[in-house]
Subunit: 210 residues, 8 copies
């Protein structure tokens, strides 16, 4: 097996959110903006829900790249936030790597903008240092499908695990019985189809008890 | 001119939301669920914002079609709500038509699920009775692009105006100076790209006053 | 209004199925074969369900064009079946036109293969003779999207109503109360998403009575 | 009816092939080159087959626009060929209009490169002078789908009939019995799926006589 | 070779159908519902045809996820059916693994909803325990193409064989002479194009004997 | 004819560029940014080349909508530039309408961002006042294809002519002999394929004179 | 390197054409029929041109699968032709393997219909026996993109080289100087864009010598 | 790891531009011409910016393949330029390989037309000789997506790193502080969205100092 199964473990995983900034988001054209924003917030919410150590970083927040998505700042008011003074690869920033090491986690869940740079560079660096890297492909955006597929191929060839936020949540949770309502709420808040299922179900259930 | 310019007027327009029900939404496959839900709520919010008379109707809410989107009920707690006992074309329901007539409005903004039935039938009936009909295409959903384009063609050929929620809001508002913040908030809440522009702008503006 | 609303009426409508033959179906590439077959059979089933006069015709059934879909023969064993000896436009065949006139109906619902020839030619001829023509776009197939859109545009410009089988069924039925189970069964047999809604609903309902 | 049915008549139709030149063909990106070349040659072959008066014209054949497709010259060695000295709209060239008038035909079948200029301009001019114009959309090419749809919409709104080569052939032929083998060969030479049907059919037929 | 050829063997293969439930199916948007339902039933039918041990499992069948597709229950009335009380990865359920082991088979053919969770998790777990895993990609569905490709890449990198139902059937059957009619019927029931070929062929054959 | 042929005349046409602002451009997602920017500049260059009166207008240039594309300011340093204080429909701004009337032109070529608002509103208003309106569809951008097609349909139904920049240039120029080099340069600067044709041609020509 | 560079060598390569039959071609829907037929014939022509040993095989040619493409029989009248009596994997047929071995070649260029069965099975078998396998992806067709990508992934993971006919021709030829006209003719016959380049070039060249 | 992370180093990288010729560019149909030209020039500009040794090569520049893009000649007037007399694989040309070796670089950044031949062949040859190869996928073009994906798969399987020009620039630059203005200008010249961000930002900044 090229890349054997490594299972996400909520006691051993950390989340790295790289450069989800208002200006850079206008560069993202491989995923529709409504869906992309939802995916990024879903990843943030699941990180909060599973209480994973989360590290935020930005590049030139006070320039044209624009500020970090305000929603992310609100969700992670206490998390390490590393505005990089210039390093393009977040892994070249000592404070960032220190913050990662401080978590003590060996499984890194990474998402960012744009995929082939802000995600791929730290992902490849972390793999080279022995971390297991899980790229959240649908919370990472880039210019178009050519740049996306090239980035995915490069990361996958180096041993990164390609996942999406829903799979990450499911793999971390393991068993619905750990908390049916919590996971259900997470899904309901970010998957309209799922919310519809629940609405339909609870309506019939409610009628039943009448 | 086949269909001359008729300009939406907030003193003369009403909104009809037809069958946005949890079950029926699973039939919608011509627009992505994240985007579609956003469009429907954007239309609801703009109707509220412009204080337009709004009429809600459903088909068999207590059967497999499922309940009306709860968000719509919350936004319009006082609006006429007509659960139809069986009429497929809402215009065949006397209460519905009475509610429309009670608004005194002559411009009807219609959206619903599915486009070729729940939207097209009342739209065509209303045109036949002399109303000006504005179909909100992006808040109306259906099975696929073939059904969508057939429905658009039929309605357009009968004289319906095809619009989208953003155009409806802009045409109703006329001038930003009527309320910059209100319209800006509406757009910011439903267009991630627009919110990013505002976030970037206000960040630089804030820095400027430091 | 270019093409005013004409409402399908089950007492005044007939169905014309033109050249749905095994060989010709291999020419259809604008709709996926699974979906296309389903749409054609859905149209046939609705015609049966509403007891509409239905006329079948083929072109060179014993040559490379192949036999009529056997399912259609089974559904309409008693319907007029006109194998045309050579006329490309079915309306050029006297027997076919006689069969149409014999129905006494003035609303013609037409579908066939391929759209720009076998559907468009009789549709245009019928309009020219004063019939109201309703083209079932999703039960009509052709080579690609260019041929399809050109055909739709030509027919629509001449006054044809573009519809799909689901809209036809809904417009004919008018009111669910006429027969909830019958229409529900029709939809359930041809719309997997709808069947899922019913399955989910009845499961919860059944549990409720336990 | 906006554009009533006008039926192509092989005694009253002429074909205009405008600027199918080697260089200009590299601008065509709305149809795949294999398919586009096939469509153009199919239109040429059908024109030959039905013995329609055909007029060829080019724009700056000895400059970067390149020579007329050699196949067209071979198929129509005797047809009027008008290399225009500069007029972009072929209808502005007196020799071209003279050649059209000399045919005595009132139905003009037009195709060319690029759709919104070389096809649309003479098509609109001819309509304005009272001709019935049939645009062969799949033998006309342009830069992309935006340019194509804009051109189709402009021509259709002015009364042009949008058709494709297969429909043109079928409408001109009227009845297979006029010449089964001739039309079958035309289709077999330009529709691989049709050729396959014939090959399969004749193979079984041949086996049958063994 | 990363993943050497392992050939499916009907004496050594078992089929695992994971969470094809009415509610969850509304989440599937990477394959059209008509086609997806057909693929799932084709896989079920081939499993029955080759008499493969088949295991069914569901997640919260009495909640919003909805009941197992009734057709699957009808096809496999005697097969092990494991409704999981909460485990997301079916492989975490002891009864499920026991049922797998009880088959004595070492080749596992897996399909389910959604691909990146209900299929990928047990597939990766089974590979890790030494099974050969064959994922039936077209009988597995998920939210969109991003989630699908990420899941495929993760499974393929771990050594899973990506196949589709038609390839599975062909690889298991080995030689048409084992049963021409049986395999032909399977294909005819689930591939409209194939059924058309057979209809055309038998029609000519029949004529031949007249 | 619904919309008869009206031919662009360089003595009677004016160009209106509406809201091509840096911020608003990030909302445009129905055309790729490289291509869209090229189309807008091509329209500007052709307006300059044909010496057409050109009017620029913006909405809130000093807010989040951002400044007018600097390239447009450079190309039209002397043209009327109307920053609107709040009117969404440019035609509601008296200065803008005055500037239009001051040109004395009756043919208005309009492009802008976004199509269904900034283009459609003044286009519809101008038609209502008797102008001939030519919408440059490929120099106008919007959120997605649903918003685009709805806007096109509404404008076309009201009598607007849908064109693209290449067609506008060709229709204004009429005859290459008016200025071969000038038009060739315009095309070469904005159509890479055309520039390649010229490069290849001139290379061989140059070799020929050696 | 997972799959190191192996360079096609015209002294060591053979071509296997598997099941390009008239009936089976109607199953191919992942490539347009015009393009697919062209690709298959291009591969046949290049095999002829480079004088590669070529082996043809079919499955049930006298049943619904239909006869081999007649063009292939004409191009390879003397080549081994193995109509398989039932084996689905051609490699299971002893005559076929004997014919392969008789060529003495170790590089096998394979194409066929459908990709995941008729191509993948013998490709995987040949790799397992030590051959270098080059799959010609664009001369191999299947039902849809899901089946195609699954098949590509399976073959690539097993060590197959994915190529297309143009690359195969170029790699075999090595140097244009071996025969400029021959290779040019091959490309010109199967790539319309290339033929246009040559036509434009030779036209200017010819003018030069005048 | 199949292909471990190798980081581009501006002291160790060279750029190879293969066959970006005017004629061959008309064969490129997997990327839009506006975007493709921009990508090629962006790669050239970044090579210049980072002062990387750059080698240009062409195939039959004085024949139908056409001349090298003039812009490339202008950007690299002093770079080695190797017009190949016939070798299809540039690596078969001794002068080309000598030029590569003369750079002393071990990381080769390659782009060209068409991807599966002019890029893939030298890329595979260079890998076989121990170079690290970085393919710039978006500055390499080919006939269609089938040829592209096959070429990517073959190169990736052999150990090539798939990148795009933006990622190459970012990886070479390492840290914005090395030269903010230089890299910003490069991006601004080739990414309209990025230029818009800068324009919006500097406008507000400028206003701030008023």
């Amino acid at each position: 097996m090229t890349t054997p199964y490594v299972r996400l473990d909520k006691e051993n995983a950390a989340v790295l959110l790289v450069d989800h900034q208002a200006g850079l988001l206008s560069l993202v054209r491989d995923i529709d903006p409504d869906k992309f924003k939802n995916n990024v917030l879903a990843l943030a919410d699941l990180s909060k829900y599973f209480d994973l150590p989360t590290i935020l970083t930005t590049s030139f927040e006070d320039g044209p790249n624009g500020p970090l998505l305000p929603e992310l700042k609100e969700i992670f008011p206490e998390s390490p936030f590393i505005p990089r003074p210039g390093q393009i690869n977040a892994w070249d920033n000592e404070d960032f790597v220190k913050a990662v090491k401080a978590t003590g986690r060996k499984q890194l869940i990474i998402a960012g903008v744009v995929t082939e740079v802000c995600v791929a560079f730290p992902a490849l660096s972390a793999i080279a240092e022995g971390y297991e890297v899980f790229v959240v492909t649908d919370a990472s955006g880039t210019f178009n499908e050519v740049t996306r597929h090239s980035a995915w191929e490069r990361m996958s060839a180096a041993g990164a695990h390609l996942m999406t936020w829903f799979g990450v949540a499911a793999e971390l949770h393991r068993d619905w019985r750990n908390d049916v309502e919590g996971l259900g709420t997470l899904f309901s808040n970010h998957i309209p189809d799922y919310r519809n299922l629940i609405n339909s179900y609870t309506t019939v259930q409610a009628a039943k008890t009448d």
